[in-house]
């Protein structure tokens, strides 16, 4: 979005909204389900609270279509009319290499039954993302009963099931592993493992978010379709006939016939019977209530089956990290899922070591990040390899962006960041935090913020005022990690449900 003119921006914004709307009906079932799921797993709820919560979920989804239409018409004017002037915001967008939307994705598969989109290489966007150049992000969306053809990648792939009920089969060296997965399940498919999948749900769309970690070429990977025919083209067809005849001990005609039949693409429709057959012998996925002990099994696990690491009425954070899970240790990866209650916000914080790649799974809102690299005057200062301090007026610039389903944003290590849910819907964000080993989240406001932890003398020296004045600001907010958001505060404590 680097050089978009204002008019283009508006056109683009409009088309994004239309697309969002068309996705909406497909995702309503899903949202209801996830909302209820959150109710059941929200820490500290008793039975009655849970029921109320689930009821609100229903009201919420029922009203949503109406709200969405209104909102589209409003055109986000509300946010715009706030303190940030339109010009300022536009400037941020233009200078902001940390947010990615529809136009930054490539379509790698599209059939009648589904599609796969992959975000372009981060380094195509900006050199500031060189630290994550060997990661790619993508998602797969497929219809009920869709079958995804056998394929292997020259990349490790991490799956997160956001909706639908995939039954996935991995062909390992000496055995076949089949898992019935559900919402919240995380699965690592090691590089080169042939896998196929069916959405065993009859009504719900499958939506899978992927983190892709190429093993062969930095940041580049390819799908290899073997079993198949003309579409997707099988890699068998690249061998000469003499080699194929010898390898299979069959005539050319026969071989040719086999590899000519499949023409329907890599995502096709399975019959009810075929779905039944494929899912019958599966182990259930990450359903076990206990986290896999470190060093043990390599099956899937469910992000929501552990207690949230942080939870209050303004949101909850689920996390799987390398210290607990062997699989993630090898990948040096934290996976987290934040469910920010509508109208609420995440405390400004930063990661000490990890760079966070976030994918908005549901809801709307925006994020803000403090960035020392981007300067309206000097362009990308990191490019020059130098940084400058007091004398030369180092300044932090705000990087911000609107969040909605499918938006990806990146928060590098050390960068203070926050996200705010709109007043209309919970904001659900899945994050892959790479370089995760030994990472700490440092809160910058709320109960355990870093300033409260300083000695009084240090507070005075740092701020140039008496310590009690520092404390008046830093000790007012008593919540931890999730806070009431801007609107809620302004309106004197009105709380969104959940």
């Amino acid at each position: 979005m680097a050089v978009l003119k204002k008019s283009t921006l508006l056109t683009l914004l409009f088309s994004v909204l239309v697309l969002t709307a068309s996705l909406a009906s497909a995702t309503q079932d899903l949202e209801l389900k996830q909302c209820r799921h959150q109710c059941r797993h929200q820490g500290g709820f008793d039975e009655e609270q849970r029921l109320q919560c689930e009821q609100r979920c229903e009201e919420y989804v029922r009203d949503k279509k109406q709200r969405e239409r209104e909102e589209r018409e409003e055109g986000y004017t509300r946010r715009r009319s706030r303190e940030d002037s339109e010009e300022e915001e536009e400037r941020f967008e233009q200078n902001n290499p940390y947010v990615f939307q529809d136009e930054h994705f490539d379509t790698s598969v599209r059939t009648e039954e589904g599609r796969v989109h992959v975000l372009r290489k981060f380094t195509e966007r900006s050199k500031l993302l060189k630290g994550i150049e060997n990661y790619r992000v993508g998602f797969l969306e497929a219809n009920p009963r869709a079958f995804v053809a056998p394929v292997h990648f020259d990349a490790d792939v991490i799956f997160f099931v956001a909706s639908g009920k995939p039954t996935i089969t991995l062909l390992k060296e000496k055995k076949r592993e089949t898992f019935n997965l559900q919402c919240g399940d995380v699965l690592h498919i090691p590089a080169g493992t042939p896998a196929y999948m069916v959405n065993r749900d009859d009504r719900e769309k499958l939506f899978i978010v992927k983190l892709i970690n190429p093993v062969s070429l930095p940041g580049e990977f390819e799908p290899f379709y073997g079993p198949g025919g003309e579409n997707p083209e099988s890699f068998y067809k690249a061998f000469s006939w003499e080699v194929l005849k010898a390898a299979f001990k069959r005539d050319r005609d026969e071989i040719e016939r086999l590899f000519r039949q499949q023409k329907r693409g890599s995502i096709t429709k399975a019959s009810r019977e075929q779905v039944e057959e494929l899912s019958r012998h599966a182990e259930s996925g990450g359903a076990a209530p206990i986290w896999p002990f470190k060093g043990e099994t390599k099956g899937p696990f469910n992000l929501f089956h552990n207690h949230p690491v942080s939870s209050n009425r303004y949101g909850s954070l689920f996390e799987a990290n390398p210290e607990e899970c062997k699989e993630l240790e090898d990948l040096d990866l934290i996976i987290s899922f934040a469910n920010i209650t509508k109208g609420a916000m995440i405390a400004p914080y930063y990661n000490s070591k990890a760079t966070k790649i976030s994918f908005v799974v549901n809801g709307e809102g925006w994020f803000e990040m403090a960035c020392p690299h981007i300067s309206s005057e000097h362009g990308h200062r990191r490019g020059g390899g130098t940084w400058q301090g007091d004398k030369s007026g180092q300044s932090f610039q705000r990087v911000s962006g609107r969040l909605r389903r499918g938006v990806v944003f990146v928060a590098p290590a050390g960068h203070p960041v926050t996200a705010i849910a709109s007043e209309n819907s919970n904001l659900q964000i899945l994050s892959f935090e790479v370089n995760g080993k030994g990472n700490t989240r440092y809160p910058l406001a709320g109960r355990k913020n870093i300033v409260n932890n300083m000695e009084n003398v240090a507070k005075e020296l740092a701020f140039g005022v008496p310590a009690r004045e520092v404390e008046r600001i830093f000790k007012s907010q008593n919540e931890e990690f999730f806070f009431p958001g801007p609107t809620q505060q302004e309106e004197g404590g009105r709380r969104a449900y959940i």
Copy 2:
């Protein structure tokens, strides 16, 4: 070979053949020896089979010179007249960054007694090889009784002894380690270790294949000659006289005299007595029948002293991997040696994680690989950073190349590949598989191919035909990993010996 015209190609081909011929007599002893060695270690042979096998080795080598002359005159027309038209093949060669021949090597040492050739950086050839940019491949050839001067490299070096009997001395911090090596021995010389070597064989040429892993500059390394004089120039001469005088506590004249004597180059001739002296106190190399226990000794080991991981009458595969061997774990490396019986082939397969760098040690043949990156229409698609699926007609292109002694070829992770021995000679391929930890070889045909491992429903969905039609193709070949090759099959089961 990117832009060679057809005429140049033929000229080149001719000169390669002449070179091959001149190497032939030198390598005949070697081949006989290796052939016999294979007989003795081929799994499942009883005593009589072993003797027959060895006898056939002798016949084979006796007839070889004759056959080689004929073959050269034929000029490989046989292969060319097959299904692949000449034009098509030439095109592949032009687009093929995965095969390397004489012209891609630089001469780093050449004296009367031997030579060292090093393949240029992989990334000079193509960005598609960026994943292995920190590896270099080379070989050393030296006369009987040749002495290779003391030298250290800013690189880890892995040696494979293909012929000759090197006695190598490593100067470690507190001791001197000397090993009498033989064919099949693998030795890791850690970066910076001063080493010298003599070929203690009186008649056989020394031939050593090297994998070089620079520690200081990615993909770049240098030899540092210390003990020596004007040729090779000693690095001592770079210091100022005042420093040298202080360091040695000797006069400039004396020092100057010492470093002026050696002028014969880094590979010179030793006398029989000197060879005897150098090899007398050596430990024998990887002769111990038991594989070094993991985590233990760092000495050499012999690739052929373990049972082959796969073996039948069509070939055998020897392997050392990081799971078994501490040394290789640190280097994250698999070393394998495939001996493909003449006329036979390796099953098409792919590596799940490892990228394979192969060096043809003996014999002739060709390889084929399915490659998704190279497209006649779009050039190197990886370069653009995107990949495209069903809609845009992704296709796999065949990459192929002729194999003969000294040819290097690369098979990246995930890429289906096969190699076929000519009808005239066994094809012996040494492979360094980098990024080897946790690698799996997935066979694409033969007894344990990935398709056989799929459920019937998945077969039907993937191929669009009833499962039994899939099985007719995928279950005919009963062999595992090594198969009869194209000619053998065509001629109705004629088998080559061994």
Copy 3:
């Protein structure tokens, strides 16, 4: 210094000397202290020797100002008049990407109370330094009682305290850690950890050398000031007011007032009481006489509290390495400190694996290094990716440079190198040796040099002369690692004190 003309060189030289002079008075106390410290920790001294040693320290420092003035007037003509002609030396400097001086540093902070300088990215200077592109070097100098404002970096930072008495506080996730450090202490500040510091010494300047290892962007890092105001600008100011109001639950006016007060820059002056308060509850730093057991505590340690790994009257070498220290294992780093007695030298040697980044802490002298990459005829040959051997006349070129406080020089793995102290002062060099695991220092002269370790036959073959002639040169020097330097030898064994 790549393209400096001779006149510029002289101008530069002059200004460096002036600068050195102005630093001199500030560093005299320090030198006396360090000199005495060395006396107390020099291996093998009895009480009387120690006292004599300390007395000499005092004489040395007393005479120093006088000597320094004379030396400046002399203009290093002594060294120049030796064998290396002026022209030759100038050529080396021009071609030499391994030495860095004042003009290669950027000022990142400068206030009345102190300054921070950071060396530019190594790869900006030369591709030959690509192997260390993810390391940066810097130093901090601050007045007595200077306070360094709370800050975190997107980088791991290693501190070495060269002078002053810093009290440093790290804000960890759940606790605050404060250490009273002293000369010789090494501290690792993990990426993202907020830290602030005060120099609790009332008279001595603080001088800290830093190795910086970015975690997010290769070779790039930024300071993030949180607690603070307008100078240094706080990253809090990058968030929108609506977000800040919600995060802190306070009015905009109040927040604005707090973040407007601090305007004195990131290094300010603390009062005596504030210093007292900040250091009162600290643990003392690396004062414990026992090295932290591996895998245990992550606090600071003192490089001088272990026995030197090598020590004689010509110098001593202190070292902390990854084999002994968990902290350094994670960073794959060796830290060493060489104190070369005035007039003495380090034995020429090379590191087998590690690349050494050295920072001259005190004293003067020069270094010489044998370099195979730089050739007056061919430019940087590594750039071409090829190296050539006997035929093409590979040669080692001398790389050399003058050393004085603040000079940084790099010795890549495998490169023979030596350093020589001037006749006027001990030369004290702090080195960070990256890629340190399993590194060996190979001495090229002195008692355990690599040639002595060779068999006689190998000596004869390598040098082309009888073994006893080789030994006459290589066995004269009986010292180990530190030798009498060029002048001392020339003058028939006159020894410098200590």
